[in-house]
Symmetry: C2
Amino acid sequence: MKDSQLVTSKLRQIKNTLSSYLTKILPNYQITPITMYTLEFLRKNPDAMAVDLADEFGLTRGAVTQILDKLEQQHLVLRKPHPTSRRSIQIELTEKGTTLVDAILDDYHHEIEKLFTNYSEEELAILKQLLDKLPV
Amino acid sequence: MKDSQLVTSKLRQIKNTLSSYLTKILPNYQITPITMYTLEFLRKNPDAMAVDLADEFGLTRGAVTQILDKLEQQHLVLRKPHPTSRRSIQIELTEKGTTLVDAILDDYHHEIEKLFTNYSEEELAILKQLLDKLPV
DNA sequence: GTTATATTGTTTAGTTAATTAACAGTTTAA
DNA sequence: TTAAACTGTTAATTAACTAAACAATATAAC
């Protein structure tokens, strides 16, 4: 079997492992994957509009409205008037939302980093270089 | 930033890329991710019982019943009497099901393998070795 | 400038995929 | 022999999404 096939298979396994980590972590925070992703996207894109979220996740605008409703009920985000466009809204992460998403990402990333405990510094550096060649 | 963090971030990107590939491919085959995974699992585990599918995917037995109902309607699997246990069923991939899952995996894997077109044989070999160290 | 078109977010009704809980039949353990 | 556990199904319910219509606003065409 070719190395490209073996690496492909390994990447699929990694994908499953990461998914299972998230599935394990999120219930501790009473949050679903899509609301977590929403918070993370807003953390990285503070100026994002609702339609950007819809595009990012391949959802309808109606679905995003409902996700924001839930996040607002949990006081994790706040809808505010948009500073420049009156047909849009400004979606603000609350302090509670910011703290939450940071804690979740911390947990999640630490769990993933445990996968590398038996790697040397040099191996990690090479792995990083090789993965950086991926057009993702 | 430490390499373990950078690699972690890259693995998350890879996970998203793989997910989007699947999302793009599956509609061509009129199938959902969970039914695709079910077919793939049955392909690799011909003796699997319904309860094994539930365990594998973290679903209830009732959910698996419904997934199998759909797959049976599409003539992709067949429920047969189990050879040794009368309270269980034997889930058989039909020829149509086998052909379908093979075609999907072919598509999917080829799409992933395109990510490595700018890798040398040597780089791929090293990447494979390094990923094999992962406990996944 | 006015008008037509497109964009943004919301609402409502309906669909889909899942859960929960009860059940029947079968197997295993006491 | 009886009790407990296991396997799969069913029916009712819940949660997350879509589709389609809508109101308000912004952009483009002329």
